[in-house]
C-alpha cells in the first residue's frame, strides 16, 4: 500500500463525509507539498471545516484517504507520531484553550505526550522550550507569562498561544480553521504575518480554511474554492484571481471585491 510516487507531503484523496443523509464533503482531493500553503475558501456550509477536521484526523471520512509522506493514515486512530505531525489551530482561541490551565501546561502537554524533548525532560528544559515558542509567536520571553491563564491575554495573544501549542510538537502540517476570523483587523494582520514567517523559517506546510479571499490571497500559494461539499475550482492563487473559471467562483470573487478596497485604488 505504501506509495512514494508523489512529491506531496500531505495528500487527501477522494474525501467524502456524510452527516446522516447529508453529504458535507463530496470527493475532494488535494495535495500539499512541503512548505506550501493551500487556502480552502467558500461560504457557510461549503464543507471547508469538515475537510479540515478530516485532515487533522478528528473526523473519519466515509470514503477517501489521507496520506502523510505517502503513508496512508488510519481515519481518526492515527498513531501518536502521525498525530504529532499534523496539528490544528481553531477559529476561537477562547474555546480551544482550557481556561483553568496555565500557559506552561497548555504548551507542555503536547511535548510530554509526544516525547519531543525526550522521555523525562526536566522542568528547566521544558521551560526553555516554552519560552522559545513564545518568542517564536511574538509573545516575548518573560517567564512570568508561563504561569498566567488564558483569560489574562487578549484575543490575538490567545490565538498566538494556540499557535504556539500547535508548534510545540514540531508538526510538518498545520491545519488552521479560520484562525483570524474572531480577531480585529489589525490583529489579523499580525497573525497572518506570523503564519507566513513560520512557513519560511520552519518549512511548515499550511492548510488554511477561510471565508475571506483577502486572507487566502495574503498567505496561500494555491486556493481551492468549495461549495456544497465539492471543489468548484482549485488553482494557483494568481491563476484564480486572474481567471476564476466557474460561474460560482466568479460571483464569489466579484462579491468579495465589491466590499473590499485596495488602498490607493479608490476614487
Amino acid at each position: 500500500m505504501t506509495r512514494h510516487a508523489s512529491s506531496a507531503l500531505f495528500e487527501m484523496r477522494g474525501i467524502t463525509v456524510h452527516y446522516g443523509g447529508f453529504t458535507a464533503v463530496d470527493h475532494v482531493s488535494l495535495s500539499l507539498p512541503k512548505g506550501r500553503a493551500i487556502g480552502i475558501v467558500g461560504e457557510s456550509g461549503a464543507g471547508k471545516s469538515t475537510l479540515a477536521r478530516v485532515a487533522a484526523g478528528l473526523i473519519a471520512p466515509a470514503e477517501g484517504q489521507v496520506l502523510l509522506a505517502g503513508q496512508p493514515l488510519a481515519p481518526i486512530r492515527r498513531t501518536r507520531e502521525q498525530r504529532r505531525r499534523v496539528q490544528m489551530v481553531f477559529q476561537n482561541p477562547d474555546s480551544s484553550l482550557n481556561p483553568s490551565h496555565s500557559v506552561y501546561r497548555i504548551l507542555s502537554e503536547g511535548m510530554l505526550l509526544h516525547h519531543t524533548l525526550g522521555s523525562r525532560p526536566s522542568r528547566e528544559v521544558i521551560t526553555r522550550r516554552c519560552l522559545e515558542l513564545l518568542r517564536m509567536v511574538g509573545l516575548g520571553e518573560s517567564a512570568g507569562i508561563l504561569s498566567r491563564r488564558p483569560q489574562a491575554f487578549s484575543g490575538g495573544q490567545r490565538q498566538r498561544i494556540a499557535i504556539a501549542r500547535a508548534l510545540a510538537v514540531n508538526p510538518d502540517v498545520l491545519v488552521a480553521d479560520e484562525p483570524t476570523s474572531a480577531l480585529d483587523v489589525s490583529v489579523q494582520h499580525e497573525i497572518l504575518d506570523l503564519l507566513a514567517e513560520l512557513r519560511q523559517t520552519n518549512g511548515l506546510s499550511l492548510m488554511l480554511i477561510t471565508h475571506d479571499l483577502g486572507v487566502a490571497n495574503a498567505l496561500c500559494d494555491d486556493i481551492m474554492v468549495m461549495r456544497g461539499g465539492r471543489s468548484v475550482v482549485h488553482k494557483s492563487t494568481e491563476g484564480l484571481f486572474a481567471d476564476p473559471g466557474p460561474q460560482y467562483a466568479q460571483d464569489l470573487l466579484a462579491a468579495a471585491r465589491s466590499v473590499s478596497i485596495a488602498p490607493g485604488m479608490r476614487g
Partner: protein, 276 residues
C-alpha cells in the same frame, strides 16, 4: 420589486426624502454632543465625550475595532443601552422632532422569535405601530417581506426563522425595522454574520431602500470595505473616542491619524482582474 413599491413607500413622511433639501438643510437629524457613557460600577469611561451630527438623508459609518464604543454609541442613540452602563447626560443625544428610529441587528437569527412565523412577527409590529387590523397587517407584512426578496409562498403559508437562511432572516429584520416607518435606520453590523455574496445582496438592498425611502442611516461596522460601499462619511472610533472623521474617500485615501492609517493598511486586497 417595483410592483410592491407602494407598500414600503413612506406615506406618512412624504417629506422625509424631499425635506432634506427644503427645510432642514442645516438642521441635523441626529445630534450627538459630548456623549459620555461609563460603567455603572466604576467610573471607567466607555464613551469619552464624543460629538457628531448626522444630516437628513446622509449615511454615516461608525467604524472601529472591538471595544471602540461604536455599537454602544448606536445603542445610546436608539435608547437601548445594556444593563450596567450609565449615560452621563441624556441631553447629549438629540433627534429631530417627530423623526422615528429603527434598528437592525448583527445576528439576524437570534434577533427573531424562533417560535413565531416571520410574517406574523412583522405584522405584530405593524399592528402596534400603525394600528392595523390583524388580517390587514398579516397581508401587508407578507407583501413587505416579498418585496424585500422573500419567497412569494409566504403569502400562503408563514415560515419560522429556522426555515430561512441567514440572509433571509436579515431581510425579515429589515422588514421589522421598516414596518415602523422609520426616518432613521440604525444598523449594527448587519452583514457581519452573513456570507460574502449574501452580504452584498443585503448592502444593495439597504442602498436601494435608502434611495426610495429617503432614509438617514447610521451604520456601525468593523469592516472598512463594507463602510466604503455604503457610507458618505466615516467616523473612526478607538477606545471610546473619535480618532478621525470625514468624507469616506478622504478618510480611506488620505487618513490623517496613525490609527486610521493602520486600519486602512490592514485591509487585505482582493486582486482585481485589472492587476494582471
Amino acid at each position: 420589486m417595483n410592483a410592491d413599491a407602494s407598500i414600503i413607500s413612506n406615506q406618512e413622511h412624504p417629506g422625509a426624502a424631499a425635506g432634506s433639501h427644503a427645510d432642514s438643510c442645516h438642521e441635523p437629524i441626529i445630534r450627538v454632543n459630548d456623549l459620555r457613557i461609563t460603567t455603572a460600577m466604576g467610573n471607567r469611561p466607555l464613551i469619552d465625550g464624543i460629538s457628531f451630527d448626522v444630516q437628513p438623508g446622509e449615511t454615516v459609518g461608525l467604524v472601529g475595532e472591538s471595544g471602540s464604543g461604536k455599537s454602544l454609541t448606536l445603542r445610546a442613540i436608539m435608547g437601548l443601552l445594556p444593563e450596567g452602563v450609565v449615560l452621563a447626560d441624556s441631553e447629549s443625544i438629540s433627534i429631530s422632532e417627530h423623526k422615528r428610529l429603527a434598528m437592525i441587528f448583527q445576528d439576524p437569527v437570534s434577533s427573531l422569535d424562533p417560535l413565531t412565523g416571520v410574517a406574523r412577527q412583522v405584522a405584530e409590529v405593524m399592528r402596534y405601530n400603525q394600528h392595523l387590523p390583524r388580517r390587514e397587517a398579516q397581508a401587508q407584512a407578507a407583501d413587505l417581506l416579498i418585496s424585500l426578496g422573500l419567497p412569494a409562498s409566504l403569502r400562503a403559508a408563514d415560515r419560522y426563522p429556522g426555515q430561512l437562511s441567514g440572509g433571509q432572516c436579515q431581510r425579515v429584520g429589515i422588514a421589522i425595522a421598516l414596518a415602523t416607518k422609520p426616518d432613521i435606520l440604525l444598523c449594527d453590523e448587519p452583514t457581519t454574520a452573513l456570507d460574502v455574496t449574501v452580504q452584498l445582496q443585503i448592502l444593495d438592498l439597504l442602498a436601494d431602500l435608502r434611495e426610495r425611502l429617503g432614509l438617514t442611516m447610521l451604520f456601525v461596522t468593523h469592516n472598512l470595505g463594507v463602510a466604503a460601499h455604503l457610507c458618505d462619511r466615516l467616523i473612526v472610533m478607538q477606545h471610546g473616542r473619535i480618532v478621525e472623521a470625514g468624507a469616506t474617500e478622504d478618510v480611506l485615501n488620505n487618513p490623517q491619524q496613525e490609527y486610521t492609517r493602520r486600519l486602512v493598511s490592514a485591509i487585505l486586497p482582493i486582486p482585481g482582474e485589472q492587476d494582471r
